[in-house]
Symmetry: C3
Amino acid sequence: MTIQLEANLQNLRAKAPLVHNITNFVVMNFTANALLAIGASPVMAHAVEEVEDMVSIAGALVVNIGTLSPLWVEGMHSAMAKAAQTGKPIVLDPVGAGATPYRNNVLTALLEAAPPAIIRGNGSEILALAGASIQTKGVDSTADSTDSIGAARALSERFGSVVSVSGAVDVIVHGNRTAWISNGVPLMTKVTGMGCSASALAGAFAAVVTDPFEAAVSAAVTMGVCGELAYRAAKLPGSFQIAFLDTLSDISPAHLAELSKIRLE
Amino acid sequence: MTIQLEANLQNLRAKAPLVHNITNFVVMNFTANALLAIGASPVMAHAVEEVEDMVSIAGALVVNIGTLSPLWVEGMHSAMAKAAQTGKPIVLDPVGAGATPYRNNVLTALLEAAPPAIIRGNGSEILALAGASIQTKGVDSTADSTDSIGAARALSERFGSVVSVSGAVDVIVHGNRTAWISNGVPLMTKVTGMGCSASALAGAFAAVVTDPFEAAVSAAVTMGVCGELAYRAAKLPGSFQIAFLDTLSDISPAHLAELSKIRLE
Amino acid sequence: MTIQLEANLQNLRAKAPLVHNITNFVVMNFTANALLAIGASPVMAHAVEEVEDMVSIAGALVVNIGTLSPLWVEGMHSAMAKAAQTGKPIVLDPVGAGATPYRNNVLTALLEAAPPAIIRGNGSEILALAGASIQTKGVDSTADSTDSIGAARALSERFGSVVSVSGAVDVIVHGNRTAWISNGVPLMTKVTGMGCSASALAGAFAAVVTDPFEAAVSAAVTMGVCGELAYRAAKLPGSFQIAFLDTLSDISPAHLAELSKIRLE
């Protein structure tokens, strides 16, 4: 197993996939610009009146619950059901999982209704998501979910999803496959929307790469490598976010592959 | 016919018109900053409970359907009706026209209820809008709407609106008048909200310039010239969007006029 | 009475308080980034289904009515009631007070239901807020509210709140205490979300400083000093907003105290 980073980024830029985002108010602008910068084509639409039509013309669906409310959740359900029905990969970003019962309930219902190709969150979100959607429902799991990697394995086993856990080292699991990605810089946690953009890029790669594990790894590496390059140019968060967008646009597929630090198992 | 670019920008900055925007979540921040940078005063308000009062104190209304939903559409209808009744110019940006039936239906209803002074979109949106609002209703048109300029003429004829079509060359039509504007750079398509800001600037100019055709041309030239100047400073999309805002604020009316590339017919 | 600026900023960064924001669509991204840059931890959540749970885990609540609508107002009421009940400081930003009757009515109801620790607005908003919530209700006030400082005193007397009036000189009143802060630069009025970020920072300081007057002064000084430092690096609004975020992150507590220009009475 190897990850074709160079080919995958070339492919993304050649196809410029339409990525349908139902995401939060805080990050919409940054996410749209990140998708444009890497070479994808973003569209944001959330109304139940049109999400089925929109996802039907998209290459992937990214659902992010950051600023959720009932009408938006209704749109998420419709869009995810249509995506599942038409074979479009779904990326779910469980922002703030564990913070409130409402988030946990919404996430559990979304996961049950249409299992995502990729779930991407930070460690505490993945832990909370596994707790809410598996343990609290009394579903047995052979995986140990007392840490975030165990939780990721449990979620992957239960829903068949690739689970991508962002952190100082990103860990991505699917079945018996695991990737550790050591790219990235701590400053990325000081800019809002970095995690959400990681999910959006996972959607962009999933739209053009058949294997969602490979798509998730490609997205995580792209985030991390571009974070490192941006940090060479900008050490403070305002200018860093701008340098990051510049880097997404400027990086060559060969350079991406060259700077990647992936361990596969 | 000439376009008084220098006087129009001076006028805009002297009057700092209040521009009422009902726009999409993705671009609200960038649009507000673009309006502030050029010298206007932005306000965003969408609730049906207050849009009539807000548009009553504004100099122009900009409606952009990018992330539409029923409650927002209700606010758009109220605001447009009040704007029409009180003689405030309306700019309509049909974001994503043609992407879903819901968008087409909403746009058709908005156009019928309160014809805008200016409609601004890209070629495919203008084509889709003409298709949805004219052809599908069986309304005869003498204009050929098989290309975007023909579609623009058909829309202009049907609704009395100035129609501004953004592209490599912007084309603006109204009755028997046409302007071709050759300013701008391709990188503008890689930053989200550039088109939406073009519509917002059209609203700002329309608030201070009597002739909506002249307002639309002034806005398109301002976008294009500032895009060219920003590109001299920044060749990548993150830093380009920042340089663009800087340029909107910094450009002198004389410099704007000097760099304009307009052909009128 | 002195303001422990250095200790307060150290304290904020050491504790990284969770600040719950119910704010407007235009500024959410900038506000979240400003909170991250200064060292706080932002969360945005507005649905009535979860705001009580969210405010319960937060250190402060910031309510900003910029793009209000009935469902959001419902969330504001729930969150403010829960904050009052659990002793979490509330900051209220009355964006656009006076612009429409709907805004005035919503603000009056919010003030009556749960008096904020801090009210922060510009002069015209504070004047309008006092007019709507005091004068129009026939409540006697010993304060002269014909100017914004008089209005601030009247609001402070009526609701027990610290009232922070942003302007060329910021004025902050509470009971018989007044602070005049002469930091800041005019360019701050040309970037959207600066006032909203001032309110968010007031929430961050209020989460870690017991006296809300001291929290409000610390926030206003932080905004003003960082604005001055950012202006040394960037004289135009696009790059200024980026330099401002950089400065929030980079400024040392000692430097903040050194550059502060406060007059207390």
